[in-house]
Symmetry: C2
Subunit: 183 residues, 2 copies
Amino acid sequence: MPKLWDDTIDAHRHAVREATLDATAALVAERGLTGVTMSEIAKRTGMGRATLYKYFPDVETILVAWHERQVGNHLQQLVGIRDRTGRLEDVLEAYALICHAHPTAEPAASLHRAEHVARARQHLVDFLAELLTEADVRDDVPPKELAAYCVHALAAAGAVPSKAAVRRLVAVTLAGLRGQVDR
Amino acid sequence: MPKLWDDTIDAHRHAVREATLDATAALVAERGLTGVTMSEIAKRTGMGRATLYKYFPDVETILVAWHERQVGNHLQQLVGIRDRTGRLEDVLEAYALICHAHPTAEPAASLHRAEHVARARQHLVDFLAELLTEADVRDDVPPKELAAYCVHALAAAGAVPSKAAVRRLVAVTLAGLRGQVDR
């Protein structure tokens, strides 16, 4: 029964991968990106180091896989909010809060140059551009440009001191999307 | 006359440094950041390689010094525009055009983690915050937060296809600074 055997192997691989990334997430939270080692991941998952090396060649590969899962989860969160409330404000605030909780710190910069990040950023811009097409925003600027503006402007949330400041940033960004007030 | 001797040495060091950074600028423009070598810089300046190594230990140090001078020049440009026209719009457009001309490409990312960049970014935020304090903008958000918003939002100019798009980005960013239009 080769089919069933394959399924079992796939499920096993998937389980090992998820357990490895969960252990990595916990280690990153406790010790930061530079505090993660193959030995420690192996210990947390209860695998031997040799087994872990059969699945991942090095700690960088694991960190990239963890980060990719992390970024994918964030995008799913935003999609979920859009589906639930449909409000542009809610999606932008959620994204700003994600940026606030995960400022692009020094060591993360190496992860942020990985290919999956460029891809994820493109997905995010496409997702926002679609949302902006239907939202009550200015129509003198193409939605793709407005979306790129949002992603950049809201990244400032990584450098502000409080959630109140994050909400002010969202208000300022939204005002940009809506258009010029006459003074 | 030790004083005069010191002055001569200082002037010489300064001249060597400037010539080295000019040659580096030309090489970066021609070949990109990864195409710059100690040999080529020495050749362009007419120094021997051994002499160049007396002033700079490696090519990374030269690239950081070149980039620091470059970033400093950009800030000076913005200060000059403020002094000439005094208009927030002109300063923001100039900054957006700088971002458009120098998108943060892959290899530059390593330079962008250098300490001088964090310092320069802080200067830029302080400079804009001061400008915003006097400008006709919303007063429900502290000028420092508005300045951080500007720097992040305008960085999107690195990813837009045309100067027309850069100007649209500046208009959107300015609308954010001015406040919400009632719709």
